[in-house]
Symmetry: D2
Subunit: 488 residues, 4 copies
């Protein structure tokens, strides 16, 4: 087959460029590699094709290109999509980016009519559209992953309503709590994370396509048509803002970084709880690894990696914030740097949620060790003070009285429950029983019967409410998913 | 007056501590300074007092303390608030934090009854409540500042519908735009910023008070009562999550960092536009400064500082993300480090918006310089290509044809509008007029008549819509503000 | 006294400006506050005065100003320095920065001759000089603080050569180590931190003074004279680089962030070791705090704060990296943002080192708890494998054999030392003794007799070497300090 | 060939694990992918093999394994290295990391003797050694790249001693400078960057090999032998520090981030200078790209990408700082996250330096545009003030006088050189000639004859010194390179 001379003449630097016309010198090879993006932006392939199909159909509807050409474009694009999904698409770094890889392949397959696809479109609005579609779907997927993890947590909570362990502040034993309460604390944190992705998803409601390179187009495009076809509410309102902004990506990276920090905290607890000294949980073999040197080791690698990868998520956020800082409007090439952090954070988030979800759903709780730790009478010191408060002693005075009792315990090497009634009254006359009677774990829980507190009643209700909420959210998310994916 | 021996005995390390009972050694003086927070957390004073009043009233309502004591507490707290507002309150770093400064002062004023205020409350839920109140109000204030700035931008847009300048990509002239369109691009960016603060404001809907140190309280508090009194929807749902989480603060720092990056971009443009070479705008003297050495200098310091302070906002975000990373539940002292970044980012944001608002509302536009730049015929090269598209030439081919015309201009030192009809047709036979006829700035604008585009009609409508939207939002925000501030 | 009309006429915006000549409008009050720096850059006061004295003397020597004026300037500056040190200097935010505060005060004290001080100098090279002096001294101080901490660690190591505890990887018990070895690991980390500050100190060897605002000066200054007077090797080599660069400050912020991360790791271990579950150490009361609610709590607040403040140090670094990113040469006002992160990181570093030093020098080691944990026979599993290696079994095979023994222990609930000779040989025929004989803690240590290893001999030698190194470095640093401080 | 049953039995989760012995459950597939590192740590292959060869030879020398086995190991490792370099090595993600890929392949090739290679070694000290070798070589390579760029800058400086342009502060024209002076400013910045890499290279002087997993080894290894063989001064001094620390990698990431920020500033200037408004330089076609939509565009993509990638370098630094924050000693799996930021920053740095080097060596300077801008008489305003200083007017008074002259120019729309002698004397009687005589660009330069200043003499000397310095450094670096690469 004879080469198309037109195509040839656009070669700058050994590869087909979209913009070779005005150039005479070839691109430096290091620059080609330095500026290429196809090795990462191929993650956008399906969104790019979805956007191109919508664009082609709009061009047909507005009669900017003939119906036959639309059909050729659409079927060609669908064939390419199939190749990509089958892993047989020949990505070529010399073609710079995913958009040119697809368009170039299209020309190979359907000939010069492929050149009509870019009518009224710039890579600037094209990539903004791809990214919006990617972000919208990824926000939804993050909510789905979080939903599944929250379901695990609530399910485990329902198993552990009567499993008691010390709650810690400063990693010091503070007050006894139910393990269910602890699992639900994680679930609360993750619900806010999920809300953040939902808020962002709602904000991605306007379609960039038709904004052109910076100033729209002189052609009579129908921006509402493509917006609707791609599942958006309406077109974006300002062409310069459309191609110049990356704040929605930044918001995704922020929400991910915050969520990863939350996950790192859960991970830290699993690591601490897996230590021989705490011995509160045993991770399943499927979520642990060993040592190449020390045969006895069973390491909590999965939570460690999750904890470590929070650094990556924060780094990705900083990377793009810094890149965008101080850039004038509108598009600048620096902005190509938005993709890798985005894809990396999205993948890191999904995997981190999934493996932590798996770790917690399969771990074995060592209830005996938790219970033993929770027996520490010191955990009830606050209760003693609050008993005095009920006897009308100002809290500050009550606190100090009990503080002195604790101090004496430390000096004498005894425990708080050893004080007799006489000894108690020597500390404060309002005490009316020996410590062993006043310090009762069961009663202590039952008294903490406030919303959000640790009594059996409150925790059971919290499990019920969470179960119900998750059920509702699952239905809503499922429905939203059909919309996100079914748009074309 | 004789010293209260009880108070004295609680002194550890030379100052009155809330927790001295069990301690025998004094605190190291460097540690006192290292761990003190009153020099920054005094920014929470009014929120702390508001929360304490609500708490005291609830203690009265639930009969945990007598009505007389409630009255004493409330009037004492109000007196302290007055002192703080008058600047006469004696902050004492030795008293660690703002909470203890207030409580200690209260004891001086109303005696031992002050000790009842901390009944059923820990510093952990207290500071979480203060922060929630602070954040909620600051989110509202950020929206107000952004509203005012957006009003300025839309007002200036309405002045500059017919001011033409080049739109730039890669800081190269790309296509002509209306200055109104440029101002509106900023307004669009800032609207999304405002939405982020609104979303966060809605998320701060649950009241921490009553979560105690970690596990609620054994006392029969009424958490719904304080929640309502402080303007929240309901109490938080899990005591451990309540005292352990800082993700709402992180979300504020994120939204601020993203907004500051947007501001840094506006600032960068003002700096570039103020250069002698561009000469597009002249900043008012009130928003410029001079040089101590060079008498001729008039420097755009205000936008430079805004641009520079984006680094500070990003640093504050990183600071807290890193601090929170890997912390086990529940409260850890590390979390005290949340305050300074929060206060600093809040202040930086407010001032940056205000001074940039002032800069743009007072700057003088050099319309002649903008117009001269916009006359560059190169700006209409895309139009030439799109003219060929209308003649049914595939866009890629059209792009290449015009690319060659541009290349020849560069080589011959002529401008694009110099080509005669013959010359044009030598490039492509579909051209039907000399370049000078085809390249018409006015017509070019009128053809860009898409939503979000640059035609006079579209831009005028965009100004109208934005004006209307801002009007509506101003009314809504005003109403929300009364709720945020009027809660007690 | 009549007001000097000249001074008055330089007022812009209500305050005396250095650059008012060409301005007619007043500065906006928010802008005044926004751009003021004296509230933080007063930390530079003594360096500013030192630099001004050197500059004045050079102006005298080169006869740019008369000797009498030099004397007036120098004695005026010294009087101001005394006021500042006494805390009686009236800092005025309206005077923008520390330089203007000092110069303005000088004028009040010695009259118009004060106006000669700025001859041949710009605020740009002035502030660069102040910062260089500050940085040089702070690098030295950081090395001094680290030296003291390392001395503590080595001293504690010499006490704990025979204190045995488990070494952990993945927070799982790995192999037994001497506590001395653990303290020395910290000392090694901190030695590299110290080296980084030393390297930076050496890099600050050229004096900025004389670089002017951007292009030097038309006056015949003697830059070598001021460089020498201020203790530098020579003047900087390029005036634009001199006023435009902040990389030395960035390097300080980096070295500090890395050091703070190292400290955060030591802090984390102290927190974990202070838990009831580990119970390896008890912090002194002077380095602990209590709870306002829970009377029994003794919290490791000091290490927690150090750990948390690593976030602040990282944030400060990010802040300035971001601020400097993308700034064209030479000076831009954004660069004023370098001061606060610098001062904050310097102070945070000093205090963090000091309080951690104090915590470790005063903590009580619970040797019994450490020893009990180190008795875990699992810690010697690697030894068992290495015993097989000595019998010519390939390590991978040996590792697997012992892995199976460990697996069987887990299943049967027995410990590794329970296997009889027969059982051992069933695992591998090369075993020649029952496990209880092969697993010997003492022998295990003695066999680890490699450089850097844990045998008594190696650890004792490491303590000796470290002691000797610190002694030498103390002498060198002392000498360097006299040079750093004694320059004038 | 029959399968080795021992190997098979170590399979956990479907792949051969180094540590399967004690495990019964299989690894979760997502976890396998989540924890795998071979897709990135294969960058360490050649260093891993180099380290393994040195280790095998030491094992032979100390008679821990027989000489024949050493030969088999070494020749097997060399064959693998050849495969890797030829691109024919079959990397298998299921084998977790590069170390296991190599060891597993070795077993396929030389049989069970491969199992002896890991004698006395853990992956912890192995990967620390690989990283040290990688870092040392990369520091050297960074210095080489910077040397080449500095040579370009100095070469261009020697061409542009008489090319005059305005020096800018705040992007406002400040004072005229020679373009050579501007190029040399960049060279100075980059020299400090180079010093940082040199300092770090020197710090990597101790060999990790032999530190084992945490506590050295019970086998009689010769750590000095491997240290020397790999080109280190000596073994590391503390086994725990050796496997637990990542500060040298952090230091590399810091030095890279700082250097990238410096490069971003050079890049920003190239972008600004390439604008039509400045028109100071024209980038070669080889270092520019076009637009897919706008045929006329020639964009400075290369400097834009360099500027943008500074974000990536800062993100990588933050990522690892955050990951390391708060990790207890010794090794934790989180630390695997050190590799990707390291490799990415190293590659980003190298490419950024190279393409910027290429951009500057090939760009065309538009001397006429620079000269025209430098003619602006305002640039000499400081000279006017300094002329008064020489006439004994205090500088502050002189500054104000000239400020008023500038103000009048602005009001009257005239230039500073238009004032007659009379007008001049009206401003200040000390003026002795009309402005046009006093304001002389040539004389202005000649008067700036200070070290680091802009006179022809000074700049010429600076070029000479820089040339000489670079010559010396090139020889030194060449020699150092032979040492870095020739070690085995």
């Amino acid at each position: 087959m004879a080469k198309d001379p037109k195509t040839d003449s656009t070669r700058a630097g050994g590869s087909t460029k979209l913009w070779g016309g005005r150039f005479s010198g070839a691109t430096d090879p290091t620059v080609e590699r330095f500026s290429a993006s196809v090795h990462f932006d191929k993650a956008l392939a399906r969104y790019d094709i979805r956007g191109s199909i919508a664009h082609a159909q709009m061009l047909g509807k507005t009669e900017l290109i003939p119906g036959d050409d639309v059909e050729a474009l659409v079927s060609g694009l669908k064939a390419i999509e199939a190749d990509i999904e089958a892993g047989t698409f020949p990505f070529d770094p010399a073609l710079e980016d995913i958009h040119m890889n697809i368009e170039s392949r299209l020309r190979e397959q359907i000939g010069p009519v492929a050149g009509r696809l870019h009518t009224g479109r710039s890579r600037n609005d094209q990539v903004a559209t791809d990214t919006a579609l990617y972000l919208r779907e990824t926000c939804w997927a993050a909510q789905m992953s979080l939903l599944s993890f929250r379901q695990t947590l609530v399910a485990r909570a329902s198993e552990h309503i009567d499993t008691i362990l010390p709650g810690y502040t400063h990693l010091q034993r503070a007050q006894p709590v139910r393990l269910a309460h602890h699992w639900l604390a994680y679930a609360e944190m993750l619900e806010r994370d999920s809300e953040r992705f939902a808020d962002l998803g709602r904000r991605i409601r306007r379609c960039p396509l038709g904004a052109g390179a910076i100033a729209g187009s002189t052609l009579p495009l129908d921006r509402h048509h493509t917006a609707k076809a791609l599942g958006f509410e309406e077109p974006t309102r300002n062409s310069m803002d459309t191609v110049a902004s990356r704040d929605l990506t930044l918001e995704f990276l922020s929400a991910t970084a915050i969520c990863m920090v939350n996950l790192s905290r859960i991970a830290e607890e699993l690591v601490i709880w897996s230590s021989t000294e705490f011995n509160f949980v045993t991770l399943a073999d499927a979520y642990s690894t060993g040592s190449s040197l020390m045969p006895q080791k069973k390491n909590p690698d999965v939570p460690e990696l999750v904890r470590g990868k929070s650094g990556r998520a924060i780094g990705n956020l900083v990377s793009l914030l810094t890149t965008m800082k101080g850039l004038p409007l509108a598009y600048n090439r620096d902005m190509q740097e938005d993709k890798e952090p985005l894809f990396d954070s999205a993948l890191t988030l999904r995997d981190s949620i999934d493996v932590l979800n798996g770790s917690i759903s399969t771990l074995q709780v060592c209830e005996a060790a938790m219970a033993a730790a929770a027996q520490d009478p010191m955990l009830l010191a606050t209760d003693l003070a609050e008993i005095l408060v009920v006897e009308n002693v100002p809290f500050r005075e009550a606190h100090e009285v009990v503080g002195k009792m604790v101090g004496q315990c430390a000096r004498d090497g005894v425990t708080l429950d050893s004080f007799s009634l006489d000894e108690m009254q020597a500390f404060h006359p309002a005490f009316s029983a020996p410590a062993s009677e006043l310090l009762n774990l069961e009663r202590s829980f039952e008294r903490r019967n406030l919303v959000g507190g640790t009594s059996r009643e409150q925790v059971s209700r919290a499990v019920e409410i969470a179960t119900q909420d998750l059920h509702t959210q699952a239905i809503e998310l499922e429905a939203a998913g059909q919309q996100v994916e079914g748009t074309q």
